[in-house]
């Protein structure tokens, strides 16, 4: 069987276009190749909603029509279930050939030799911003290629602010000013409209605040770069806001799931990633949503950065390294793929893809926002430590307990640090 495949692969080599020659040429050493008559099938999995599934199917169909020697078998789930499935697959040695990936889990799998070093295959990264690529690299090996970028922002609904008679923010604010703004919305919203959710509950927002204070979240050797006092200061930022109209109560938030309070028109603002725009518009039915930078006490250092909103990775055990590499290359670089996804994955990371995509309406808002903060942008973060996914979710959970009044700030800090220290010891 294998001999026949190799033979057909050689036949395909002869007829394939010059562009594919290099990619296929490696196949004799780096895996099996297919042909139009006898295509290889690779598996691809991603997380996301129906909208993303629809777009991904279109992209796969396009890839298959351009690459008749490869078939792609797609499969998707929601974000939480996604990682549980990958964990069991990895344990059984059966990860899909190509996967959509999140920065939080890159080290867990990359460092444990579950992911293919994409430096050994051909994926074109010439048109990527050089400051972005290290996010997908661990100790000099490239495990993930960013599909797109996102940045942190404050969303607001201009119509809601107008109805309360509150001026639109211009995005230059300190934490104190931002708190005052949330409080004003809460006071005028009168129990039906809240300022926002507790912004101290999101790890990445804390990370930005640390950067604003010139503190690194994690040290080179995988330890925590900040102290308990730093975290205490952070969680105390909204201490006076909790339980008031400035912050929507956790009991309400829980009941709105899976929608967010902002998407459910319960809050006027939300601090999160800019590629959530399409989702918020669909959920809330708002005519228009706007983006401004996050607050900072240092006007010259907003702590902002472009993060790969998702990466493409391949399994270390894939039998079809070249097919996997070609699919990844296609997904991150092809301009037509950009046209299919627009900004729903984030702003395309590859310049080729970005320039080939026309952004209109809300997509343009996201692209414009990322352009407007360009001068504040710092290097993208390195892949976080092993087990970071747990730390991120613990961060959120502990803040929820804070808002329920089940924990004091000191208790919350102790709880999170114990989890973090256990985890670092565990993986040492």
């Amino acid at each position: 069987m294998i001999d026949r495949r190799k033979f057909l692969g050689t036949v395909a080599l002869g007829t394939a276009s010059a562009a594919f020659l290099a990619a296929c040429g490696q196949s004799s050493t780096a895996g099996q190749a297919g042909s139009a008559e006898n295509p290889v099938t690779i598996t691809y999995t991603w997380w996301g909603n129906d909208d993303r599934a629809e777009r991904t199917r279109k992209a796969i169909a396009l890839f298959e029509s351009k690459n008749p020697d490869i078939k792609v078998n797609g499969n998707f789930s929601d974000f939480a279930g996604y990682w549980q499935k990958r964990a069991t697959e990895a344990a059984g040695g059966g990860l899909p050939d190509v996967m959509q990936w999140d920065l939080s889990y890159l080290r867990d799998y990359g460092q444990r030799n579950q992911l293919l070093d994409l430096g050994t295959v051909k994926v074109n990264t010439d048109s990527f911003d050089k400051s972005l690529l290290p996010s997908g690299q661990i100790k000099g090996k490239t495990y993930g290629i960013p599909t797109s970028t996102n940045a942190f922002a404050v969303y607001y609904d201009p119509a809601k602010l107008q109805s309360l008679g509150i001026a639109e923010p211009d995005g230059t604010w300190t934490y104190k000013e931002f708190n005052a703004f949330l409080t004003e919305v809460g006071a005028k919203g009168n129990g039906t409209l809240f300022g926002g959710t507790d912004y101290t509950g999101i790890w990445w927002n804390f990370n930005i605040w640390l950067r604003q204070n010139n503190i690194q979240a994690f040290t080179e050797d995988g330890k925590l770069g900040f102290s308990k006092d730093d975290l205490k200061k952070w969680w105390n930022l909204t201490a006076d806001l909790r339980g008031t109209g400035a912050i929507v109560g956790e009991d309400k938030t829980t009941q709105l799931l899976p929608k967010s309070p902002f998407g459910s028109n319960v809050t006027a603002t939300e601090v999160t990633w800019d590629n959530f725009m399409a989702g918020y518009l669909a959920d809330s039915g708002a005519k228009e949503l706007k983006l401004v930078p996050v607050p900072s006490d240092d006007p010259d250092n907003l702590g902002l950065f472009l993060k790969p909103s998702m990466l493409m990775v391949a399994s270390a055990k894939t039998k079809y390294k070249d097919a996997a590499a070609r699919f990844i290359d296609f997904m991150v670089n092809d301009p037509e793929v950009g046209q299919i996804f627009k900004t729903s994955r984030g702003v395309p990371a590859s310049k080729t893809q970005r320039d080939g995509t026309t952004f209109e309406g809300t997509d343009k808002l996201v692209v414009d926002y990322e352009k407007s903060i360009e001068k504040y942008l710092k290097d993208a973060p390195e892949p976080p430590i092993v087990g970071f996914g747990t730390l991120e979710s613990t961060f959120k959970r502990v803040t929820q307990d804070l808002n329920y009044g089940k924990l004091t700030v000191d208790g919350a800090v102790d709880a999170w640090f114990k989890e973090a220290e256990d985890l670092i010891k565990q993986n040492a």
Binding site: E250, T254, Q255, L257, T390, Q400, D401
Partner: protein, 316 residues
Amino acid sequence: MTQSPTLSRRSASAPAQPRKSRRRGADARAGYTFLLPWLLGFIALTVGPMISSLYLSFTNYNLFDAPKWIGFDNYVSLFQDERFLQSVGVTMQYVVFGTPLKLAAALAIAMLLNSKRKGQGFYRSAFYAPSLIGASVSIAIVWKAMFGDSGPVDQGLSFFGINLGGWVGNPNMTMGMMILLTVWQFGAPMVIFLAGLKQIPADLYEAASMDGAGPVRKFMNITWPMLSPVIFFNLLMETIHAFQIFASAYIISNGEGGPAGSTLFYTLYLYLRGFSDFRMGYASAMAWLLVIVVGIITLIFFKTSKSWVHYSGDSK
């Protein structure tokens, strides 16, 4: 009085008929042959994984790297883990309050359905129906909607002047909601109670009526003792079952055990530790601790049952 209502007793005394030994050998072979598919599955899919999880419980295992032997460390750190202790508290609360309530509801309804009335067959099916769909995912989702802010439950209670708001997001109310969900799924124990009630000879009640006994007296002196083996069986099964609650808690709390850890049931925490945090050794230790605790509780039940469970074959 000739038959015991318990299943276990009956099956234990059934095959005790004398046979020729050669026949018995052939029968046994045939029996084991028919048993083989199940036996293989049992060994490969239940016993094997259990043994390996026992081994894993003494290791540090993250699914990717080879397990590292750490002795009793997992078991020791369990008792320093606040969330573990919280999950034990939550589960105990559920078992202690949920199980008796569920059994009381099951028994009360079984007694109602046991009386002679027109259309009783319809009522029996109707009351059993919730349990058929009760364990499914869909009902937990419905439950979540019902107990949400301005959901039917909230609106119904406001009508009577009780304003509790939504239950789903309120850590003080979620346990009540979970217990109501399990009480509502009383069908399985109810059917067993009903079968038990039918075994009680009617002449006992007739004789008691003639002696002037009221309904309470009849229940205490006839129904309860006559039914005690069935009550014991149901109590045991439902208690074990309650310890294993997972699916409904997972759905109602979006797999997180929230709000504020109020639905962090033992098995849910075990699952999160194993599959979200990749701490399989820790999760295995939790699993084995649960096996041991449920085993001890079962043992206590059997020991104490002698004082209140009456079998018809007993001397008194």
